[in-house]
Amino acid sequence: MTDTLTLEERRIALCLSVALAFLGLIMAAAAQRGVMALHGGMAIAVGLALAFIVGGSMYSNIEPGRDRLTHYYDAPIKFGIIMTLVWAVVGMGVGVWLAALMFWPEATPLWPATSYGRLRPVHTSGVIFGFGGNALIATSFYVLQRTTRARLAGAISPWFVLIGYNLFCLWAATGYLMGSTQSKEYAEPEWYADIWLVVVWLTYFTLYIRTLMRRVEPHIYVANWYYLAFILVVAILHIVNNIAIPVSWTHAESFPVWAGVQDAMIQWWYGHNAVAFFLTAGFLGMLYYFLPVRAQRPIWSYRLSILSFWGIVFFYMWAGSHHLHYTALPYWVQTLGMTFSVMLLVPSWASAGNAIATLNGAWHKVRDDATLRFMFVAAVFYGLSTFEGSFLAIRPVNSLSHYTDWTVGHVHSGTLGWVAMIVFGAIYTLVPKLSGREHMAWPQAVEWHFWLAIAGTLIYVVSLWNAGITQGLMWRAYDENGALSYSFIETVEAMLPYYAARTLGGALFLAGAILCALNCRVTMRTAAERVDATDRPLALQPAE
């Protein structure tokens, strides 16, 4: 990781590593005990490890020549992909374990750290932020350089973003295990982790803008619009939802400044736009690059790209209140959330349709190439889950679906079918390129992975559709005498077969992800020297 840095840059990197260790020391010394002290210890460990790696390289004379500027900067991307796969296995593994606990709650171990409530955010943060976030950052660096034909505008900042981001993920996951949480869904990490993420994210944003300004292509490709919307809006969402007052500077606990129904509205404005800008916009950026590249087809409609982008950016912002139908939230806010969610369908389908139409003339490739098939299926599930999302946002529909497992099924049709599928498609396109190879080391394993993933997703989603609709209907059923038809426990017992099926579906999906991680490991370890002559920046940049 240090070979591409000049001696000067290594000195800066060393200072930053020591500064991180020092920051950890301050945290640990101030807090003395508890979660914050332990997290300080983790920062010390990461800082010292980096200091040793960078410090050791100071004595090496191998410095990159000026010709490094004639290549794209891919070393951090490789690290990002590795972290993506590590978090995939961790996050999905915890998910399968939790699914099994729903079926078999007696298996919960006695330790507080392994209770369902603490593990559940480890699963959600692990897959959304660990797996999804690393994939987004790594592919954004890749796509940004290729579509601007410019090298990343910084040698250390990409590393800072990726390592800093993974430290945040580590703090988050280990904090949950120790019971540290703000109790805001998808925004559980406490105030110091939130502040750290702001620093990392602003660095990311600056790096992205600076690289865009170096672009050689006069126009900015649509994938970059999406990535940029993802970076910018996630920063806004994260800051607003996490404004909190720490109990003291030496404790992990804090109180949010928002209260009551305002807090609920801010939380779900954040929550739904996290779906929009983290789990949708960024991955659309991925789709808009990797799908046409893999299919070797032009994007079907430039105009649909525009409609889709501005439609998604504008409509999504209003849709969050559909999470609070039939609550203390005023009716008019619910109506706005519902109607904007319905209007959102058209720009969403514009992107799904655009992606599928792009495959015209490449259907034989979809048939033969599992990697492209991943991306095709991703586009289909994107269309399905956005339709389902708009449908569930309609108030009377929501009265049936809300609080049931249908919601969970909907989320997983988006995350497994759309988000994870496009990530795997991107990984299988990108890892051979980064390893100087034409194909993955085990091409047949990609095919296996595809069928495991599609089978897992379908079993999971279909079983939770059934579960949710059954649950919703049972909860609202009254007999002719006006008494409830079912006791609550009967509605729980009715879930058993579906919970068993969802565990199986999740396990299949996890098996595919493990196969992918092993395949990538072997591919990276058997890297070759294949160089694509056209895959380079167009103009030499001035030395940094």
Binding site: R146, T147, T148, R149, E217, P218, H219, Y221, V222, Y289, P292, V293, Q296, R297, P298, I299, W300, S301, Y302, R303, L304, S305, L307, Y326, P330, Y331, W332, Q334, T335, L336, M338, T339, F340, V342, M343, L345, V346, W349, A350, G353, N360, G361, Y478, D479, E480, N481, G482, A483, L484, S485, Y486, S487, F488, I489, E490, T534, D535
Partner: protein, 302 residues
């Protein structure tokens, strides 16, 4: 930007023509990003139609429903809906159907109620669901109890098994926060000699089998310390919350080890008061249901 096609990016400067995609027949926009191009496809009609339809849906919704904020107020919508009002009305509709038969349980005339077969056929399935939603978490789905939680489908009672007694227990609870709560405490006998405690525990453990000898060293101890609440010979039935020790029914267990624990630490089980959570009629309904559980001997739902 110039509208002259000859000046479009990547256009042929003589003809103004751009690269044509052979598959779709459309020309490209003339841009290229690391190998990616875009087609200059016209805007699909169906997307426009869909956009118009969804916007129309929204406009209609905004006119009919509360929708847009205006200062400190909001547009009320032509339907004049208020979600709180709607919820209350729908609840009242349901409740009125239910009240038709449930209101009869407001008067605790249990004998008359039991005799009305038609009423029972309506009420007992509803009672079973009430029981499962409120009582089953401790007493089991069929009232079969468990360790620390009394069995309800047998004939052994702490505070009486008549419906009015059960209803009173439901109302005030046992060792609950209700001012008239039934109170029962098994005190700790840790002041007693351990040898005495062992003797007592052995005696108590033998009581249900009926072979406890009167000359047992525990018998005297029992008479002096326990009989006041548990009755002579531990037969119970004093309606003071102290269980019979001579029958097979147990709450905490009646083996020597468990009785030793009970003697050392004492016991004070809690049953909450259900006033406020259940209506008077629901409490009476449940009382009748619980009474009938013992007849079915483990039967749950009819």
């Amino acid at each position: 930007m110039s509208t002259d096609p000859k000046e479009f990016p990547a256009a042929d400067s003589h003809t103004g023509q751009r690269e044509i995609d052979p598959v779709t027949g459309y020309d490209t926009t003339g841009h290229e990003w690391g190998g990616i191009k875009e087609l200059n496809t016209p805007f699909p009609r169906i997307a426009l139609i869909a956009l118009v339809l969804t916007v129309a849906y929204s406009l209609v919704s905004w006119v009919l429903l509360p929708a847009w904020p205006i200062g400190r107020d909001y547009t009320r919508g032509l339907l004049g809906l208020d979600q709180g009002q709607v919820a209350i009305e729908r609840y009242r509709d349901l409740a009125s159907t239910r009240e038709e038969w449930l209101s009869r349980f407001e008067t605790p005339d249990f004998a008359t109620l039991s005799e009305d077969a038609a009423l029972m056929a309506t009420a007992m399935p509803a009672a079973a669901r009430l029981f499962r939603d409120n009582c089953a978490v401790c007493h089991g789905e069929t009232g079969s109890g468990g360790i620390e939680f009394p069995v309800l489908n047998d004939n052994h009672w702490l505070w009486g098994g008549e419906p009015d007694m059960i209803a009173e227990t439901l109302r005030v609870g046992i060792n609950s926060s209700h001012p008239d709560s039934r109170l029962a405490q098994m005190p700790s006998f840790d002041w007693m000699d351990r040898t005495d405690r062992v003797a007592l525990a052995r005696y108590v453990a033998k009581l249900p089998e009926g072979d406890a000898a009167t000359d047992d060293p525990g018998a005297d101890l029992f008479a002096q310390n326990c009989a006041a609440c548990h009755g002579e010979g531990g037969v119970g039935g004093m309606l003071n919350g102290a269980p019979s020790l001579a029958d097979g029914a147990v709450i905490y267990g009646q083996d020597v080890h468990t009785v030793m624990n009970t003697l050392r630490s004492g016991r004070q089980g809690v049953m909450p008061s259900w006033i406020g959570r259940l209506s008077e009629a629901e409490i009476n309904l449940l009382a009748l249901y619980v009474m009938r559980l013992q007849d079915r001997g483990g039967g749950g739902q009819s």
